[in-house]
Amino acid sequence: MVRVAVGVKRVIDYAVKIRVKPDGSGVVKDSVKHSMNPFCEIAVEEAVRLKEKKIAKEIVAFTIGPKQSAETLRTALAMGCDRGVHVNVDQAQLDALTPLQISKMAAKIAETEAADLLLMGKLAIDGDYGQTAAMTAAILDWPQATNLYSLQHNGDSATVEREIDGGLETNEIKTPAVLSVDLRINQPRYATLPNIMKAKKKKVKAVKPADLGVDVAPTLNVIKVAEPPVRAAGEIVEDVDTLISKLKDAGRI
């Protein structure tokens, strides 16, 4: 039976209307509702299902973030993970971290926790990078399968279906491997109150980035954050000829 590590991220809740700060330096985060990244929930659900199928013996959830990320980790534990690892960085440091630095931390955690499978969401809804899973695999020199639609573990390999433009691609990869999940692989369970209460007893290890050998000094400077331009109103035309001439004028055809 394998040990699964799954990464989770605390992000602004998906249903919140995002507001840009007046000075354009970032997005308003104070007093805004945060929750686990939806794709991370899907990754945790997949890990828990592996345990329910008796393929995985232990699931270690990890997160990189400020002290509030402990709640996100507790949600993962409530969904069925066995223990947690919390890499402490403050909010300002977290905002300046890039996928490369996160990947280095994730790779080190996968090594120290002796994971056989590393699961993640395909992207986080705040950064929309979608880079962490692939980078972590490269750092670990492990095979990777991203945007998974299905996962079937076969001992020392796994058969996966990936969501690609135009359909599905079936791959077989050797394990240990890094896997990132897409939307349709499963429907995650809700972390209900009784499970949240039970999760308080589960062990969480506190770690510093320096312990993982990663420098969190900023390497990326965000110059400006702005809202997308307001969509212009449409125009109704009388007939097809007018439509074609207007499209030609606009250089569209």
């Binding site: 998906y14 135009g166 939307l183 809700y190 109150l193 009784p194 949240i196």
Partner: protein, 99 residues
């Protein structure tokens, strides 16, 4: 009484669900507490059983709503590459075959 414990646990579980309610947690909590308070002095075991069943039904409905809403939002935002793209491809190929 066994039903008192059940009702209290049910109430706490449902309170917890309020955090994701689209009209805000305060709105949810108000509706929830009113609904429970209305039947506070109910004594018939049969009626209590029916009310608990109804509350658990609402609990399941709320959970289903949350899951569906999240799924649909993610699907709309991050695209539906599979079937739609294949459909378009088929239509394009059929159109080209006609020419």
């Amino acid at each position: 009484m066994a039903s008192r414990v059940r009702v209290l646990e049910l109430y706490k579980r449902m309170l917890w669900l309020g955090q994701d309610w689209h009209q805000g947690q305060a709105h949810f909590t108000k509706s929830l507490s009113n609904a429970f308070r209305k039947n506070k002095y109910e004594t018939s075991a049969e009626k209590i059983e029916k009310l608990i069943f109804h509350a658990e039904f609402v609990e399941k409905e709320v959970l289903a709503l949350y899951q569906l809403k999240k799924y649909r939002s993610m699907k709309n935002r991050y695209g539906d590459h599979g079937s739609y793209a294949v459909e378009c491809q088929r239509i394009m190929e059929a159109a080209r075959a006609d020419v």
